[in-house]
């Protein structure tokens, strides 16, 4: 079974600075998808960024980028130029690639609460 580990329950960063959230996972599959989701106080889960395991290039979305290390099974999220609106709970998630019923589910880490200091 796949597992996802987020070892930082809480992080804080000064506004306009850069912060990196860590995520490691365990899987025996060679192809899969990894995601970072954001959950602000409104509770609405929002997709931040997605990475396909077969792509070597790290995904980027504006101020958000990932450092995907497949051999190390590591998938960290870097937030540049942190803004007050980035304050939220961040979840790392894994989904299998092959359409094998049961692989469709997302497996989540326990989350990292990010605080932005003005």
């Amino acid at each position: 079974a796949q597992t996802v580990t987020q070892s930082q329950p809480e992080m804080s960063v000064q506004e306009a600075e850069t912060v990196t959230l860590s995520c490691t996972y365990d899987t025996s599959e060679s192809d899969y998808y990894l995601f970072w989701y954001k959950q602000p106080p409104s509770r609405q889960m929002i997709l931040v960024i997605r990475q396909e395991a077969y792509k070597q290039q790290n995904a980027t979305e504006n101020r958000f980028s990932v450092n995907f290390q497949k051999a190390a099974k590591s998938f960290s999220l870097k937030i540049s130029d942190s803004q007050l609106g980035d304050a939220a709970m961040y979840f790392c998630a894994y989904r299998g690639h092959i359409s094998n019923f049961g692989n469709e589910k997302l497996t989540f880490g326990t989350g990292t609460r990010l605080t932005i200091i003005p």
């Binding site: 192809d31 509770r43 609405q44 979840f91 690639h97 359409s99 589910k105 997302l106």
Partner: protein
Amino acid sequence: DVKVTQSSRYLVKRTGEKVFLECVQDMDHENMFWYRQDPGLGLRLIYFSYDVKMKEKGDIPEGYSVSREKKERFSLILESASTNQTSMYLCASSFLRRSPAVSVNTEAFFGQGTRLTVV
């Protein structure tokens, strides 16, 4: 815009009551999921469904059942609510990948959550 709508944002029920949590999606997604979110535990999968009338147990199905009579609707049922089922419940939906060669959106879309309190 993709929309996943949960019937209630807050719910208070008594121990022993039968509780229904409803979820509707408008994106014609095959997959639908029910997760439970608790502090320090992240999101844990209760049940999921990849087709009408199909269901699969997730990691914590005990005390719950589900119903999927229509593609767009997925219901979570607490047969006899207990205080340890006080939690945040999140519904999600996604496309089913029928072939590894087919490129479709892979992410799940979530509802706004139902905070259930059992007293």
